[in-house]
Amino acid sequence: MKIVIRPNFIILMAVFLVLLAIYVISPSIRIPQIQAFSLIFSIVASLVGIYTSRIYGFKSTIGRSFILITGGLICWSVAEIIWYVSDKLIEGGATSPSMADIFFLLAYPFFGAGIYYGFTMAKIKLKQVNQSLLVIVLTASLILTYLVVYFILFKAYDSTAEPIANIVNIGYGLGDLVMIILSLMTILVAREYKGGKLASFWKAIALGFLLVLIADIVYAIYGQQFLDDMKPYTYIDLLWIAGYLLPVYGMLENYLHVSGVQKKIKLKLQQRG
């Protein structure tokens, strides 16, 4: 099997390794420059999403899918901005629940709708999907569901907390359960386009979602150590950042491919006169 390493993938890995080095070297992640990484990469993901969506347009199903997924990324960017600004402006740091939580949660319906369009467009016939792959993916989904229910949903309700805090915490748990279903759907969509460039987008989205899910689960278990700025728990941040970098890679690859197709055919038209 021939393995092709794409230049964008090398750039993405280089960025990630630089971030990893910064997290390893830095004695604390509670400094504004490091805290800004999530914010910066969420904005980069949104901008690349907007740029890529424009090339597809809203009239086509694939365009709707890209725009809605970008909508989810924009919600996360807004949430990151609100969180970062309030953390710097409010004495004692950002609190939860806040408007940032609303925007973090608002992203899920956008992701759900975008992936629904992509899933229906792929017209997957489950009987034709490799049964081993289906068993592996379903088993992984069940394990993740168990972890989310046990570590996030069961711990979400606090009888002493404000109702809005409980709603937000339960919302995050439910959002993670939705993300498991969406990851499963994206893996199946990627499988449908095996060997094609479009598969790289869906693979990147699936992997991004899975890393965010893993980060959420690890945070639910080791959240206090993370908040106390202890290593290696602070590296959870890198998983969330990877959750932004992967859609950037997937979208960029597709943008470059489709714009390349357009350029090629325009050139042929010019040659034809």
């Binding site: 597809y56 086509s60 386009y193 460039k197």
Partner: protein, 69 residues
């Protein structure tokens, strides 16, 4: 003539579905006046690269079948 027109329309719709409206518009001009075999070859070329061999084959077979009805 009618058959060619049907295939062109179906091919452009397929491109619009996967590559979006702006790419489809460019292909509308490119396919104009081209025979069926050229359209199929061009379509096959971009579809295989983008959606993989199996999906490209099933999508192209579908439009060829529908266009020849």
């Amino acid at each position: 003539m009618e058959q060619i027109s049907k295939l062109q329309t179906a091919a452009v719709n397929l491109i619009s579905k996967y590559f979006g409206q702006s790419t489809a518009e460019i292909y509308t001009h490119f396919f104009s006046g081209e025979p069926d075999d050229v359209i199929i070859t061009s379509l096959n070329e971009i579809m295989v690269d983008y959606v993989g061999e199996n999906k490209a084959k099933s999508e192209i077979d579908k439009i060829v079948k529908e266009s020849s009805l």
